[in-house]
C-alpha cells in the first residue's frame, strides 16, 4: 500500500493504461504541453508524445465529438473537459450522441471512451465555474457516471472506465486532488456501478459520494464523540446506481441522511430517497433528510459561497433530526 493523493491516483491510472494499451490516448484543453490545468497529465506529453496526448482548441463539442468518432474506430480516448461546467458546451455530444449511439444503431456502434470532468464548488470561481451538475448526466440511460471520493477508488474506477466499452463520465472534484489515501500496490480495478460502505456504523446511514464523503466523514467523527455511530455508504457510481449496500444499511439503521454537493431539487438525494421509500418503506423510522447545496447560483464572495455549500454542521444537524 502506498499513500498518495487523488491527483497521483488518477494520473497513475492514466499512465499505466497508456503504457498497457497503445489505443488509449488523451485529448483536451492544455492536457499536453501545459501538463493539464490540474496537473493530472504532467509529464505525459514528454513521455507519450503529441499524438497520444493531444492538445485541442477550446472547443468542447469538437473534443467530445472527436472522442466519440475515434472511439467508434476502436480507439480508447480519454477526453478531458477542463471543468464539468464546460460540458454544457458539449451537452449534445455527451447525452445525444455518446449516450445513444450504441442503442440507436442496435449495438453496431461501440464507444469505449472516458470523459474526465472536474467539478465542484468552494474555490470562489463564481456561478459559472463552480457547479456540481452530476445528477443531470446521471439522468441519461446509455451513459455511465462515476464520481470517486478516495484515491483508491479514483485509481480503480479510472482503470475500469478506460477498459469499459461504454462511454463513462468520470467526475473529479477539484478540492479533492490534494487528499491523500492508501492505494493498493500493483494493477487493480474498481468495478463501475458498485456502492461501498466506507465507514461501518449502526445508528444512522449517510449516503453520499465524491467531496461530500469527506464532509460526511468529518461529521461522523464529531458525532462519534457524542456516541452516535454513523454508517457511510459511498455511491461511487451514479449510473448504474447500486442501491444494494444502501438498502442493506438502511434496513439495519432505519434512518438515512443523503449528502450531495449539487442542488437538492431533482438531485441524487431525491433519487436515493425515493428508492429507499419504494424498496424499504417498512423499515423507515424517520423521514429521510437531504443535505444539499442551497438553491442559488454559487456566489463569488467566500462567506456567501460557504453558506450555500453543504457544511459539516449541516450534516450533523440532519443526522440529529433523523435520530
Amino acid at each position: 500500500m502506498a499513500r498518495i493523493t487523488m491527483r497521483e491516483a488518477i494520473s497513475q491510472a492514466l499512465w499505466e493504461e497508456m503504457e498497457r494499451d497503445p489505443n488509449v490516448f488523451i485529448l483536451g484543453e492544455e492536457v499536453g504541453v501545459w501538463g493539464g490545468t490540474y496537473a493530472v497529465t504532467k509529464g505525459f506529453y514528454d513521455h507519450f508524445g503529441g499524438d497520444r496526448v493531444r492538445d485541442t482548441p477550446i472547443a468542447e463539442a469538437a473534443i467530445i465529438g472527436a472522442a466519440i468518432g475515434s472511439a467508434m474506430t476502436g480507439l480508447r480516448p480519454v477526453a478531458e473537459l477542463m471543468t464539468i461546467n464546460f460540458a454544457f458546451s458539449a451537452m449534445d455530444h455527451i447525452v445525444n450522441e455518446a449516450a445513444k449511439m450504441h442503442y440507436m444503431f442496435a449495438g453496431q456502434m461501440v464507444l469505449p471512451m472516458v470523459i474526465r470532468a472536474v467539478g465542484g464548488g468552494g474555490r470562489q470561481l463564481g456561478a459559472t465555474h463552480s457547479q456540481t451538475p452530476d445528477a443531470i448526466f446521471a439522468h441519461f440511460p446509455g451513459l455511465k457516471v462515476v464520481a470517486p471520493g478516495t484515491p483508491e477508488d479514483a485509481k480503480g474506477l479510472m482503470k475500469s472506465a478506460i477498459r469499459s466499452n461504454d462511454p463513462v463520465l468520470f467526475i473529479e472534484h477539484a478540492t479533492l486532488y490534494q487528499v491523500r489515501g492508501e492505494v493498493p500496490d500493483g494493477d487493480y480495478s474498481t468495478p463501475i456501478g458498485v456502492s461501498k460502505v466506507q465507514r461501518p456504523g449502526k445508528d444512522v446511514t449517510i449516503v453520499t459520494y465524491s467531496k461530500m464523503l469527506e464532509i460526511s466523514t468529518k461529521a461522523a467523527d464529531q458525532l462519534a464523540r457524542e456516541g452516535i455511530d454513523v454508517e457511510i455508504v459511498d455511491l461511487r457510481s451514479l449510473r448504474p446506481l447500486d442501491m444494494g449496500p444502501v438498502l442493506e444499511s438502511f434496513k439495519k439503521t432505519n434512518r438515512a441522511v443523503i449528502v450531495e454537493e449539487g442542488w437538492r431539487s431533482y438531485g441524487v438525494g431525491s433519487e436515493v430517497a425515493a428508492r429507499i421509500y419504494e424498496e424499504a418503506f417498512d423499515y423507515v423510522d424517520a423521514p429521510i433528510r437531504r443535505v444539499a447545496q442551497k438553491e442559488v447560483p454559487l456566489p463569488y464572495n467566500r462567506t456567501l459561497e460557504q453558506m450555500a455549500l453543504p457544511q459539516v454542521e449541516d450534516v450533523i444537524q440532519a443526522v440529529k433530526e433523523v435520530l
Binding site: 490516448f25 499524438d51 493531444r54 485541442t56 482548441p57 472547443a59 463539442a61 469538437a62 467530445i64 465529438g65 472527436a66 472522442a67 466519440i68 468518432g69 475515434s70 472511439a71 467508434m72 474506430t73 476502436g74 480507439l75 480516448p77 449534445d92 455530444h93 445525444n96 450522441e97 450504441h102 442503442y103 440507436m104 444503431f105 442496435a106 449495438g107 453496431q108 456502434m109 461501440v110 440511460p141 446509455g142 455511465k144 469499459s164 466499452n165 461504454d166
Partner: protein, 319 residues
C-alpha cells in the same frame, strides 16, 4: 469507367428514387412513423460521391440518409424494413428513417441533430490517422448545418490536426424552409472553408459524373495526407423538407424548373447520347429496380416486429 460501372450509377439512382417514392406512399398509409426526409432530386450527389470511395473509406451523413445507405451497399430490404421499424431493418427497428447504419459496410450512420456528426467525423478520421491506415472519412451535411457551431469547431479541428476528412456540403438551397441567403452570411458555402484554409470546390450535383470526378480528385488529395478538403455540391430536393411540408417558402415554378434538371433524366440522356447504353437497356434496369423495390416492401411488411426484450438491449455493451 467500363459500361458496367456506368450502369451501376444509373441503377443506384433509380433504386433510390423508387425506394423514396415507395416510402412516401408507405408514410401516407401510416406505416412509417416519425419524420421522413426524402432524397428525391439529390440522388446524383451521394451516388457520384460514394462511387468514388474505396472500401476502407468511411461515410457518415445527416438524417436524409436513405439514399446514402443504398449507395453504401445496404439493400432496399434493410432500408425499407428500418422505415417500418422491423427487426430486419439495418438498425433493427431502433433507429428509424434518420438513423440507418451498417458499420460493416463502413456506413457510420445517419445522424439527426443538425451538424452534430461533423465533430464525430473528425474523430473517425482521427482514428484512421492515429492507426496509420489510408482510409478517409466522407462527411455529408446540408447547407443548414454550416451555420451551427459544430460545423466550425469540426472544420477548424480537421485542419489543425490535418485529418483526412472530405467535407461535403449538399447545398439543396434550403435549410428546412429557410433559403440559404436568409440563413447564411455567405450564400456560396464553400467560402466558409476558405476561412479555415481548407482547399475547396463547387460542383454541379445534378450531374452524377461530375460529382464522381470531383470526388475522385478530392479523395486523391486526402490520401496525400495534407489534411481535409471541402466540396460544395449544388443540388435541389424535389419534395418537401419532410412529409407534411406545406412548401410555402418556394414557388412551384422553381421546383418545376429544377425538376426539368432531373439528375436521373440528365444521366439517362447522357448514356443514350454517348451510346453507352440503349434506352431499352435502361428500361430493363428501371423494371428490375421496380421489382426489387416491390420485393423489399413485401419483405419489410412480412418481417417481424422487434421482440419485447429488444427494449432493454444495447443500452450498454456491459449491462
Amino acid at each position: 469507367m467500363d459500361k458496367e460501372e456506368y450502369l451501376k450509377l444509373y441503377y443506384e439512382m433509380v433504386l433510390i428514387r423508387l425506394v423514396e417514392e415507395q416510402a412516401a406512399q408507405l408514410y401516407q398509409q401510416g406505416k412509417i412513423g416519425g419524420f421522413l426526409h426524402l432524397y428525391i432530386g439529390q440522388e446524383a450527389v451521394s451516388t457520384g460521391l460514394i462511387s468514388a470511395r474505396k472500401p476502407q473509406d468511411r461515410v457518415i451523413t445527416a438524417y436524409r440518409d436513405h439514399g446514402v445507405a443504398i449507395n453504401c451497399g445496404l439493400s432496399a430490404e434493410e432500408v425499407v424494413a428500418e422505415l417500418l421499424g422491423k427487426v430486419t431493418g439495418c438498425s433493427q427497428g431502433k433507429g428509424g428513417s434518420m438513423h440507418m447504419a451498417d458499420v460493416k459496410k463502413n456506413f457510420w450512420g445517419g445522424h439527426a441533430i443538425v451538424g452534430a456528426h461533423l465533430p464525430i467525423a473528425s474523430g473517425l478520421a482521427l482514428g484512421d490517422k492515429y492507426k496509420g491506415t489510408d482510409g478517409v472519412t466522407i462527411c455529408m451535411f446540408g447547407d443548414g448545418a454550416t451555420n451551427i457551431g459544430y460545423f466550425h469547431e469540426a472544420l477548424n479541428l480537421s485542419q489543425v490536426w490535418k485529418l483526412p476528412v472530405l467535407w461535403v456540403c449538399e447545398n439543396n438551397q434550403y435549410g428546412m424552409g429557410t433559403a440559404v441567403e436568409r440563413a447564411s452570411a455567405v450564400s456560396e458555402i464553400r467560402q466558409k472553408a476558405e476561412g479555415y484554409g481548407i482547399p475547396n470546390g463547387r460542383v454541379d450535383g445534378m450531374n452524377v459524373l461530375e460529382v464522381r470526378r470531383a470526388a475522385e480528385d478530392a479523395l486523391n488529395y486526402l490520401r496525400t495526407g495534407q489534411g481535409p478538403y471541402f466540396m460544395e455540391i449544388m443540388t435541389y430536393r424535389f419534395r418537401g423538407h419532410s412529409m407534411g411540408d406545406p412548401e410555402r417558402y418556394r414557388q412551384s415554378e422553381e421546383v418545376k424548373c429544377w425538376q426539368e434538371n432531373d439528375p436521373i433524366g440528365i444521366y439517362h440522356k447522357y448514356l443514350v447520347d454517348e451510346k453507352i447504353a440503349t434506352a431499352a437497356e435502361l428500361r430493363a434496369i428501371d423494371s428490375r429496380v421496380a421489382d426489387e423495390v416491390d420485393a423489399a416492401v413485401k419483405f419489410a411488411e412480412s418481417s417481424p416486429e422487434p421482440a419485447p426484450e429488444a427494449l432493454f438491449e444495447h443500452i450498454y455493451v456491459e449491462q
